[in-house]
């Protein structure tokens, strides 16, 4: 590990003062489950490391009439057992409960998962299906961006020569919150992941889904996301369109699964993993549909 200066601020304001005062490369550390490995192996060589675990104001799960709001410093352990998340954002609870191992879930945060921006961020895949919005703060104030735009390939880099994979966040910015609409009465979500080994396996495939039904049990609003089959998790709108306005019969689901498989081929067709993933994605997505149907018929 390179030598660096260390700060453990108590508030966001303190962080912004540190950003202003320190001219060298700064690096934020939350759970450390990604960045510690990078610092330790000298892939990332910061001059200044700033601890986020000491900042209580980004550690919360709140619910108001319209939205569920999650502080970026909230751990997977909290999210997978929180009553609000379990009831109104099942996909996110399921995704967080499948991250790494107990130890990793106790440390790792949702903010770290989003900013690390790996192809297979489990919570990210669920959050894309929940149509989440990020709140990013800098000394200049707050800005909001949808998670999908945050990762979109066309996203202009706001941080040059930065140490993380995500061009969407600048050097003097902190991700403070992620929020999404509360589920409607007839809206249900689910997530499944395929990993190599149960614990610790970084996902080789994830599917997130959120579906709202109308009173006739027809699909009113569907969002489906795929993870680990591209640079970042993304929505598959052409597959969503197939089920839109229809009842979830075996046939409709099968059509949707075939479209999802086609999207996988279109995105990673040249990769060695494609023959496997184009088939297994159907099985994983079928399970997600089953979870949604089960929830909707209770």
């Amino acid at each position: 590990m390179k030598e660096f200066k260390y700060y453990s601020p108590k508030s966001l304001n303190e962080i912004f003062k540190i950003f202003e005062a320190e001219k060298g490369e700064t690096c934020l550390i939350a759970g450390g489950t990604d960045v510690m490995l990078e610092i330790n192996s000298k892939k990332v060589n910061p001059d200044v490391v700033i601890n986020l675990k000491s900042i209580d104001e980004i550690n919360y799960i709140k619910e108001d009439n319209e939205f569920i709001r999650i502080g970026a410093g909230t751990t997977f352990t909290k999210l997978s057992s929180d009553a609000v998340i379990l009831n109104s954002a099942r996909a996110l609870a399921q995704a967080c409960s499948k991250v790494g191992s107990t130890q990793i879930r106790n440390l790792g945060t949702i903010g770290g998962n989003i900013v690390t921006g790996s192809a297979c961020g489990d919570s990210v895949s669920a959050l894309v299906a929940l149509d989440a919005i990020l709140v990013i703060q800098s000394p200049k104030g707050k800005r909001e961006i949808t998670l999908t735009d945050f990762y979109s390939p066309g996203q202009k880099s706001v941080c040059d020569g930065c140490y993380h994979n995500t061009p969407g966040i600048g050097k003097d910015e902190v991700l403070v919150e992620v929020y999404f609409k509360k589920a409607e009465k007839n809206e249900f979500s689910a997530f499944r992941k395929l990993g190599k080994r149960k614990a610790l396996a970084k996902s080789i495939l994830t599917v997130g889904m959120s579906i709202e039904f109308d009173d006739d049990k027809k699909v009113k609003n569907a969002r489906i996301s795929l993870g680990a089959v591209g640079k970042h998790p993304y929505r598959v709108t052409s597959a969503e369109n197939i089920i839109d306005g229809k009842k979830l019969s075996d046939e409709t689901i099968e059509d949707c699964l075939n479209e999802i498989s086609n999207i996988v081929i279109a995105n990673i067709g040249s990769r060695a993993s494609c023959p496997f993933k184009k088939e297994s994605v159907k099985g994983v997505a079928r399970e997600v549909f089953a979870s949604i149907i089960e929830q909707s018929s209770l």
């Binding site: 590990m1 390179k2 030598e3 660096f4 200066k5 260390y6 453990s8 550390i29 759970g31 450390g32 489950t33 510690m36 490995l37 610092i39 330790n40 490391v49 601890n51 675990k53 000491s54 352990t77 790494g100 191992s101 107990t102 130890q103 990793i104 106790n106 440390l107 149960k198 614990a199 610790l200």
Partner: protein, 154 residues
């Protein structure tokens, strides 16, 4: 390099130490406090040999930066039993033959301890989830799960 002064509770005692910040919790515990029960296996969060209990939760100490534990509470295996007596979990590990080479054992014990503190009557599945981040290359896990199960208070 500018050292940082941190205070935390270690195995029930308040301690203060000055450390260079570029140290993992794993190394702070082994080098500065000579708590060599904390093992390094992979150094990448995968094996669980370095597990400690941090604020009542099991964590991999190789992925924690030492100064991050300022004002926190840390427990290692040295903090388990009392007055020279082994903790019940440790006794059951011996009785059930859950220890072979022993390299994974401190981490296993602490993952199990953190579980039992939160959930005194876990199911076998809950026990397996609690130790899913602890690899053992010797025992095949069954005896470890048996030992944890046997330690559950009636």
């Amino acid at each position: 390099m500018e050292k940082v002064k941190i205070s935390f509770k270690l195995n029930g005692e308040n301690v203060t130490v000055e450390t260079p910040p570029n140290k993992r919790l794993l190394d702070l515990l082994r080098e500065d406090f000579e708590l060599t029960s904390v093992k390094e296996g992979c150094g990448e969060g995968e094996c669980g040999a370095c597990t400690v209990i941090l604020n009542n939760e099991a964590v991999t100490s190789c992925t924690v930066l030492a100064p991050q534990v300022d004002n926190c509470e840390v427990v290692t295996v040295e903090g388990l039993g009392k007055d020279g007596e082994l903790d019940k979990l440790q006794e059951k590990f011996i009785e059930e033959g859950a220890v072979q080479c022993g390299y994974c054992t401190p981490g296993m014990l602490l993952s199990a301890k953190a579980l039992l503190e939160k959930n005194p009557h876990p199911s076998r599945d809950e026990i397996k989830t609690a130790i899913e981040g602890n690899l053992c290359r010797c025992t095949g896990y069954k005896k470890i799960v048996d030992a944890i199960e046997a330690s559950i208070e009636e």
